[in-house]
Symmetry: D2
Subunit: 121 residues, 4 copies
């Protein structure tokens, strides 16, 4: 993220998405349930770009695909911010908490280089 | 997001997730394709919390569900940051660009209070 | 399903999808992993039809949406049959086995009218 | 599919899932919207089995994973049958219709060995 924004990006996007929905009177559709569904649809549109590729590495992507990926990543973030807003979750605090929990669940010495899930140990 | 962090949250999480994966030698598994799949799985775990509820509003959620939602929102953000990092996408710039495109696609005067998609007009 | 087909539908579709992929030399792309991703994308296209609707009941759907739902249900079934074929799973036997397991997991007397998941008891 | 059942499998499963839901008084939760969400969650549980594997081929799967895949494929089919039932879609007719449309959309001579989507031509 190049230059540092005046406001934290997650706060900025929360403000912008609130205004966007309010101007269109769309808050009525934005229940947490509906936003979660919309989020899952956007993620699938992102997945669609990768489904027949070997790994999705840069050399496998043309300009058209790169643009599609950028737009879908954006859509996912925008719905994520709105869903967190509607459920009263502080995304930054939640992510930092989850990183701490993950560090406990997957201690370096036990999982190094191994992708099996914790519950498979 | 309570107090303003020293670094923008998205940059901070990019740095932290990079270190987390590097310490565990997990970058080898983190192809864009695999991260997109993992992201879709986390979103489904989020969706699972809402699937049988009327709307997912606060009064429908108990403490256990609220915690689950917080953790899943965090997982989604963490994978999203990693996928953007691996595909070289600046999430903030992409989100601001997409909001501009959406504003053109869904002009206030045409869509107010109507959730039909643009392509259905 | 109107009149009874000569062959069981799941067998019939397995034969037809095998031929479809073979004629196009697409088996090379049809790894179980890729088919699972494609299946998830088709399901999201199905979900998209319902995301802003109250319940998705017949009276909420116009002809266009009904057709979209029919096509997406078909796509899901076609990928499902192909994924089962590639992983050597007998879908009918698997479904009957799972119904038996579900009947044990959710005994009538305990769950009647209650949508909470088993693990929440 | 070993021996041929007396009833077509899709009809059989429709009858069985109807009874299963009715006995538990669960039809009230089974709106098309909710079933579509549940279907997407089951597909993600299926995807989860493949997300860190190279291709998901048989030699990459242990017995535990094979069983998980079998159960998740079954869950997907069971929800698919219920969603088709609730939306009044004849799954067999829809799949055969979609195969015909796909054959027109992807003519053998044009797409042989090429996984790019139709809209990318």
């Amino acid at each position: 993220m190049s230059s540092r924004p005046d406001t934290d990006t997650l706060d900025e996007l929360r403000t912008l998405t609130r205004a966007f929905a309010a101007e269109r009177d769309w808050q009525q559709f934005h229940t947490p349930k509906n936003l979660a569904m919309a989020l899952s649809v956007e993620v699938a549109e992102l997945v669609e770009n990768f489904q027949w590729l070997p790994t999705g590495a840069a050399e496998e992507l043309d300009e058209r695909k790169r643009e599609g990926i950028r737009h879908e990543l954006a859509d996912v973030l925008l719905y994520l911010v709105q869903l967190a807003d509607r459920t009263g979750v502080d995304l930054r605090a939640a992510a930092l908490e989850k990183l701490r929990l993950n560090a406990q669940k997957y201690p370096v010495e036990r999982v190094k280089g191994d992708a099996r899930r914790y519950d498979e140990y």
